[in-house]
Amino acid sequence: MKIEDLRKKLSKIDYQLIKLLDARMELVLKLRRLKKNTTEAIEEMNLAGDLQKLSQGLIDPEFYRKFYQEVLTEGKRILDSDYKLIAFQGEHGAYSEVAARVWDDSLIPIPCTEFTEIFEELEAGIYDYGIVPVENNTGGVVNKVNQLILNTKLYVVGAVELHIHHCLLAPQGCDYRELHAVYSHTQALEQCRQFLARNKLQPIPYYDTAGAAKMLAEDPPPSSAAIASKLAAELYNLEIIKENIEDFDQNITRFLVFSRQPNKEKGQKCSIVFSTAHKAGTLFRVLEVFAKRKINLTRIESLPNLQGSFAFFLDFEGDQHDSKIKEALEEAKKLTTDFRLMGCYNEKKAE
């Protein structure tokens, strides 16, 4: 075995150690919310000390004791810091995490596998916030998410409009001229179709953009690259071969931030959801309520609900305490069924 190969293996193990410690601390944070108090959570972590029994005898048991003492101390510091958690769907480095950081970079982003997990665990109190994509100007509505929004009692407390910029990423030190396969989510591959064709790269669908980046960092197939965010490049120590590889630069995804408590500050925007009776002109009469008060609608979306009729999502500009908005909400409530003000909040935009 060559010395470079050994070095590569070593740095891969160091990388894994760091990622595992990160993941461990995230679990501690989730545990905190399920346990009644934090000391109990720490006791749980002490079990880790038993792991030294698994050692092959090469390492001094005293080292393990000191190492875990350090890990536990850091775990306790993290618990005592009262970090606020925001859940997102995907692996670390997903565009949802980019959006979460845009919304509030003091929050700790926690990855979830499914959108349902975000809603369920946020409702259960494990997280403080959850962020989900609701629409993309090229790919349309995120249907799965809107179904969940329809059935939740959580409040919308923020929104992020994110310009999606894709990067072509490859393992450090690879020869970009040898690349021929590119892993990513189908939507990202589709959005970079011309770029891939120009450079004779073969698109290979993968479950997630950041997941593809993670795979490249951990177990890269030969001559492979991934399409993911710049954040993913940083988190997985990948080389950015090319930034902004999307075929059209207007690629915007809108995210909503949910919480158990409504936003208390003054907001710029409101989101409502409602159903109407199956009669001619009912939706028109609701829209008229906003039109006659010159309230600017920014989004309208319809979705079949479980009752076999339709639910409508409506976003508009203004704060719920503005008098004309108040009047409009009162009037709209009377014209609809299952009316709910999901939240009044501020929206952030990021290039």
């Binding site: 001229r177 120009r198 071969i241 090319k242």
Partner: protein, 280 residues
């Protein structure tokens, strides 16, 4: 030259090549910058300086075909990223050399014009590859090549479907050793008779001496060239390649002022004599 189906003049309109807002083949373009991209600082500062002096495009090599394999070979991909950054910062389009057919598509992602260097004028695999590219090509004349051989190299690119070729006379090898090469200025009007493509000169490589760059650049204006490509470095004494022939930003600025005056003079001359081959 019957077989030059696409490169020959044959009564064709002069080709004007648009690179962002710059039109080559119309007016006098000045492409300036360092021989090699060495660092972000070097490239960004030099780019800013040449822009202030009036350059219309940037040059800088990321892949360097050096005589010795032990000389600095260029920063490669990293160099391309720096060039793109300098281009975004100044708004000037970028010309950079490509030496390997496998790099062509990647250089197209970062640069606005692909340069084929003198040593590669007859690298037919490379010519075919840039002939398929979606970016204009700046084709330098081989240092041992006749005009006829040059025309056939052009034909290689055009016949692959890329109509946008800019020619560059950069000096040829003669018995003279005082200058790095001998600038064949007659190639400018000659190639204008033989071909419909725009032609610029490279006074830096042609002479290898800063003191000769300005006189040759002014001569190029008078010979009817469509522009020059010239090496400028913010600290020539620290350059990693061709340091003996780079102009300082101050020397470049002075030269630019003279060029502008001379271009204006020729514009007048053209009006007066209605000389169809001069620039507007």
């Amino acid at each position: 030259m019957e077989s030059l189906k696409l490169a020959a003049r044959n009564g064709r309109e002069r080709t004007v090549i648009k690179v962002k807002d710059v039109e080559i083949g119309k007016g006098f373009v000045v492409i300036a910058g360092p021989c090699s991209v060495e660092s972000e600082e070097q490239m960004l500062i030099t780019a800013q300086k040449v822009k202030e002096a009036g350059a219309t495009m940037l040059r800088g090599g990321a892949f360097k075909p050096r005589t010795s394999p032990y000389s600095f070979q260029g920063l490669g991909l990293q160099g391309l990223k720096i060039l793109e950054k300098a281009s975004k910062a100044t708004g000037l389009p970028v010309v950079t050399e490509v030496v390997d057919p496998r790099d062509v598509s990647w250089v197209c992602e970062y640069a606005d014009v692909l340069q084929i260097g003198t040593r590669n004028m007859q690298n037919f695999a490379l010519l075919k590859e840039v002939g398929k590219a979606n970016k204009p090509v700046l084709l330098k004349r081989g240092m041992y090549s006749s005009l006829k051989e040059w025309l056939y190299s052009i034909e290689y690119i055009l016949s692959e479907g890329n109509p946008n070729v800019i020619l560059c006379e950069r000096g040829i090898r003669t018995f003279e050793t005082y200058t790095r090469n001998t600038l064949d200025l007659s190639a400018v009007p000659a190639m204008k008779e033989l071909s419909h493509l725009p032609i610029i000169i490279d006074p830096s490589h042609a002479t290898g001496k800063p003191s000769l760059i300005e006189p040759m650049s002014l001569a190029a204006v008078s010979a009817g060239a469509d522009g020059i490509i010239v090496e400028v470095h913010y600290k020539p004494e620290e350059a990693l390649s061709d340091k003996e022939q780079a102009l300082t930003p101050e020397q470049f600025d002075l030269m630019m002022r003279k060029i502008r005056r001379l271009v204006a003079f020729h514009h007048q001359l053209e009006k007066e004599f209605n000389h169809h081959e001069f620039h507007e």
